[in-house]
Amino acid sequence: MSLATKSFQAIHQFNSEGWKSSKDLKSQLGHLESELSFLSTLTGINIRNYSKQTEDLTGTEMTEKSIRKVLQRHRLSGNCHMVTFQLEFQILEIQNKERLSSAVTDLNIIMEPTECSELSEFVSRAEERKDLFMFFRSLHFFVEWFEYRKRTFKHFKEKYPDAVHLSEGPSSPSIVIRSASQPGFELVIVWRIQIDEDGKVFPKLDLLTKVPQRGRVPGCSCFRCLLNMPSKAAYFLWVSQGKNQKLEISLMYFSIKF
């Protein structure tokens, strides 16, 4: 009987340990997955894959001087809203008696969509500077502006469907305002999102007008006054502060009058 009991206990213990570790794994996985989803929401950046390789470059001479040199190769991919990225970079870590220094020694970035020319310039600059953090920071702000521009244009398109046209679809960088009754009159608002040398993201607005010469269109000059944009800087200011009222009022007037 004792042998049976022992065996039984051994089996039971092993079983319960077996079950415990599986349940444990599941709950641990669940907890970490929710932490990951939280982080993704918090930063707006969704990392899907990551892998790393480490290479010890410490030579025998270095070991004698208590210097350690390690090269890490990282690969990660994911997306930030509609932009997907794939990064490969190397970090060189040098540890001597006083401190540990880490530096990015190589950075390669692949981004999609590739049509955004503003983004491709920015990517080469980030790669040149090996500035990993600037890449993600500017990417975040770029996407924020991109989504804001999309929402704003969509709002106007929905509110004034006959007058407003998105030349390149929902993510168009410009809108064209036309009137069916006054065919010669056209207004184009171009809203580009630029990234400067330091990775600062800012909108750049341009207003192009096509107005018939004769001025036979009655409310035409009035419309221009309403829009009243003395300088691009002023335009940029009120768009960036979310104050689209001027444009809103003008478009309302436009749709009523024409």
């Binding site: 077996g18 641990q28 997955e33 982080l39 918090l42 990282h74 990015v104 990993l132 975040h140």
Partner: protein, 275 residues
């Protein structure tokens, strides 16, 4: 049931008293997991091989469930670790989240800072390691309640810029002390620097005085630069040209890189750097 178990196990069971054997079988009956562990534990290597071959299909699937879970777990852990490469990562806490902001300048990884957030209405900062001269309260007042991502990335901007300015000043002091003719004067925020330097340390010329002001706290290059030359022939063309070109250089390139170019070219400044 005995037929499903490995031959070795069956033999073991039969060697026990009938009651013990039955108890064991019952215990094993519903625990399919235990069958696998039993194979591994009790059967000899040869028998393990055989038993795996005899195993039911659903048992084979279950055998790798643990491995699948373990792999998934490793993947998730790795991706969580990878977030620090975005410059922004965090760990959940009992109160909310502790966000870690990493800084770097031109590829050099520098200090990290943390902000411990309490997830309540309203969101608040429990404690943090952000230096006092960074306008944290201002940034929080603007964005914390309405757009937490903007708050975090904005804070990243300020901290990275501060780290970058500090790095440049530190490098100037440590690597180019030979060209400085006096101590580097700097404020904690590292946005106001003042120093005197000479291109030819042993030479007869007077030093240049430089004052760099970084009005934009999210930038690592100065907004206002004044370089003066206090020498006797202060009005001579060559000194004036140099003075003016230095002013331009300090505006365009990081501080330590400007000094690196001074050190490389010696007395003659490469005019191509100015264009």
């Amino acid at each position: 049931m005995a037929g499903i178990l490995a031959p070795g196990l069956t033999r073991t069971l039969r060697s026990l008293s009938p009651l013990a054997g039955q108890l064991l079988e019952k215990a094993l009956g519903n625990l399919r997991w235990s069958r696998r562990t039993l194979y591994v534990q009790m059967a000899s290597p040869k028998e393990v091989k055989a038993s795996i071959a005899n195993v039911e299909p659903n048992l084979a699937v279950e055998m790798s469930e643990q491995e699948v879970l373990e792999e998934k777990l490793e993947n998730v852990k790795a991706v969580l670790q990878a977030y620090r490469f975005t410059g922004l990562s965090g760990k959940l806490t009992s109160r909310g989240v502790c966000v870690c902001i990493n800084t770097a300048f031109e590829g050099n990884l520098l200090d990290s800072y943390f902000v411990d957030l309490v997830i309540q209405k309203p969101l608040r900062i429990h404690h943090h390691s952000v230096p006092v001269f960074i306008p944290l309260e201002e940034i929080a007042a603007k964005y914390l309640q309405t757009n937490i991502q903007h708050f975090l990335f904005s804070l990243c901007e300020y901290l990275n810029a501060y780290s970058g300015r500090k790095y440049q000043a530190d490098r100037l002091q440590s690597d180019f002390a030979a060209l400085l003719t006096g101590p580097l004067q700097r404020n904690p925020l590292c946005n106001l620097l003042s120093f005197t330097y000479k291109l030819d340390p042993g030479g007869q010329s007077f030093p240049f005085c430089a004052r760099l002001l970084y009005k934009d706290l999210t930038a690592t290059l100065p907004t206002d630069v004044t370089v003066t030359y206090q020498g006797v022939d202060a009005l001579s063309t060559s000194w004036e040209e140099q003075r003016a070109s230095h002013e331009t250089l300090f505006c365009m390139k990081p501080l330590h890189q400007v000094f690196a170019s001074f050190a490389r070219k010696g007395e003659k400044l490469d005019m191509s750097l100015v264009s």
